[in-house]
């Protein structure tokens, strides 16, 4: 996908890939042939620019055909660079106006409870979105309504447009903050599959009437050392030969 554009939110995508892998191939209930099946778990991508990563998961999950991969960000594609619900099967909301996802998740959580549905709402957001006030309105509300069907995933890669998130508007200490807001909070290495599986299982099976958050410390450009090493990798330009190197490194890792 990114190769077509030569640039993009590639470091975030590589960083969050493990979280999405555990979400889509361990935790979520869905029917690939019927992405709007009523009984599905809802997965909201609040961070619209992470669409490149979610498209990969939706392709692996069989919701989008692999043949559309090359159309990422191309005119009239179903895979725009910022995720939009009206464009893409399996994309639940139009994210990208950062800070909106969690509030929408609260409404969906309330709606699912009205319908007596057992489905979960997952909201994937970034550490940068912790700076948005609406996030905390929604955090308070989710606890107020005891939304035990709401699981928030925070991608903490400590990198936003202008630099490290902790230097832009520090959200630490993050886990106690969520706990103080009434949430069950876990903080894990977001690139450790085993830790993620355990955290998702805890969040899904917990008996407490509280919303759950998993703060995932991830590494930008995980798995491709020469991209990881770039100091500012919020929006990466990647040359043609670098794509080949990156793919080689990643597939080595895959077969190892």
């Amino acid at each position: 996908m990114g190769e077509v554009q030569g640039q993009g939110y590639i470091a975030q995508a590589l960083g969050i890939a493990d979280v999405l892998a555990v979400a889509y191939f361990h935790a979520l209930t869905y029917r690939p042939e019927d992405p709007h099946w009523e009984g599905r778990d809802r997965f909201l991508l609040s961070i619209g620019h992470y669409a490149i990563a979610l498209y990969a998961a939706l392709i692996e999950a069989g919701i989008i055909p692999e043949s559309e991969l090359e159309t990422y960000g191309v005119d009239d594609s179903r895979l725009p660079m910022s995720g939009m619900a009206s464009y893409t099967p399996g994309m639940e909301i139009s994210g990208g106006s950062l800070g909106q996802g969690l509030g929408i998740a609260v409404g969906m959580g309330l709606g699912l409870k009205r319908k007596k549905s057992g489905a979960f709402v997952y909201n994937l957001m970034s550490d940068g979105e912790l700076g948005e006030g609406a996030t905390w309105e929604a955090a308070m509300s989710a606890a107020h309504w005891k939304l035990d069907n709401l699981i928030c995933l925070v991608d903490f890669n400590n990198q936003q447009a202008d630099g490290p998130s902790t230097q832009m508007l520090c959200s630490e200490p993050l886990q106690p903050k969520w706990e103080a807001f009434g949430w069950h909070a876990q903080r894990v290495d977001g690139n450790d599959i085993k830790a993620l599986v355990a955290a998702f299982d805890t969040a899904r099976t917990l008996a407490e009437p509280r919303p759950r958050v998993i703060i995932c410390d991830t590494r930008m450009a995980m798995g491709v050392p020469f991209l990881q090493a770039r100091e500012r990798n919020h929006f990466l330009r990647v040359e043609a030969d670098e794509w080949q190197q990156a793919l080689a490194v990643l597939s080595e890792g895959r077969h190892a």
Binding site: Q100, G103, K115, S141
Partner: protein, 329 residues
């Protein structure tokens, strides 16, 4: 000893805009929504700490399990309303017009309108209907919502209009912004052969000397103005435009095409971006150029004070309108 004129004070936010002795109905929105909800199990009511001041408390009392108090958090209110709509419900989400238009704009625009979600944004204190000053006076709300793609904008005149607009906007599949008059709301349109139809303007009375095009409470003022001018043998037509977007351009253009009759748009809104400029655009696109005047609020932050004082000061009271229009004709 000279008689001391009683000093008017800033009226409370819950004060009615009804004139003394005027026929009114209490909380028409709350009662209409409660009644509609009997046959529409998908309807839920949501508010951001303004249930009582948007008449949603009537609905909350009638359907407590369908009422969501979201607290003083407007961005959350409209985000959560979007989520509810995604799950198949039809939320009526209420707050004051200033907070929806100014604070929660992005959440209504991207969260609701861009996705064509079935949320009804119902807002009290539109235009100049409170004396609390600029923090509460939504003098530019229509300009703001007219600019938002995909949303329907409704500005009802009275209790009858509100009662009929509620089922109509609920039947419309998509986002709606409705300006709300709350409390004891005047009842005016029952004396005219009128029914609210979404997207339709209605000629309430005809007359050769001028055409007043109005929405919201200014339709009531226009009708009173027309009566007052009749005593001077000035016979003006009044067209009520309860749906500002999409605008009933066909009806407006047809009425304005009658030659020799100036067009006066009366609106409880800034002269910028409201019904006046919407009508002007419609007329010009149709090649019509009648004499055109606006009775509207100035492009300014308005004073605090008692509503009757302010309506006189800014020219939207009946007396002020009669004076202004007499001067134009």
């Amino acid at each position: 000893m000279s008689a001391v004129k009683p000093r008017l004070t800033t009226s409370a936010m819950i004060a009615s805009i009804a004139a003394e002795g005027q026929k009114t109905q209490a909380a028409p929105f709350g009662h209409a929504l409660s009644a509609l909800a009997e046959t529409r199990p998908d309807i839920v009511g949501m508010t951001a700490d303004l249930g009582k001041y948007t008449d949603l408390h009537i609905f909350a009392r009638a359907h407590p399990d369908r009422f969501y108090q979201m607290g003083m958090a407007e961005q959350l209110l409209f985000g959560a309303a979007a989520g509810m709509a995604r799950e198949g419900f039809t939320p009526f989400a209420t707050t004051y017009a200033v907070f929806a238009a100014r604070r929660a704009y992005d959440f209504i625009c991207l969260g609701i309108s861009e996705e064509k979600l079935n949320v009804k944004v119902v807002c009290a204190l539109p235009g100049l209907t409170t004396g609390y000053g600029p923090s509460h006076q939504a003098t530019e709300d229509i300009a703001i919502f007219r600019g938002m793609p995909g949303i329907v904008v409704v500005d009802p005149c009275d209790a009858l209009d509100i009662s009929q607009a509620v089922p109509a906007i609920a039947a419309h599949d998509g986002p709606v912004y409705m300006r709300l008059l709350r409390g004891n709301v005047p009842l005016v349109l029952d004396e005219y052969d009128y029914r609210f139809e979404l997207g339709k303007a209605a000629l309430l009375r005809d007359g050769p000397d001028a055409l007043i095009i109005a929405s919201g409470l200014m339709t009531m003022r226009a009708l009173e103005t027309a009566e007052a001018l009749r005593k001077d043998r000035i016979d003006v037509a009044v067209m009520h435009v309860p749906t500002i977007k999409p605008l009933d351009e066909a009806a407006i253009n047809a009425a304005a095409a009658r030659t020799g009759r100036p067009v006066i748009v009366a609106e409880n809104h800034s002269r910028i971006g409201g019904l006046g400029e919407a009508v002007a655009g419609s007329l010009l696109r149709a090649g019509l150029a009648p004499r055109f005047r606006q009775i509207a609020l100035p492009d300014a932050f308005l004073d605090a004070g008692a509503l009757p004082t302010l309506h006189d000061r800014y020219g939207i009271s009946t007396e002020a309108m009669v004076q202004t229009i007499r001067g134009w004709l």
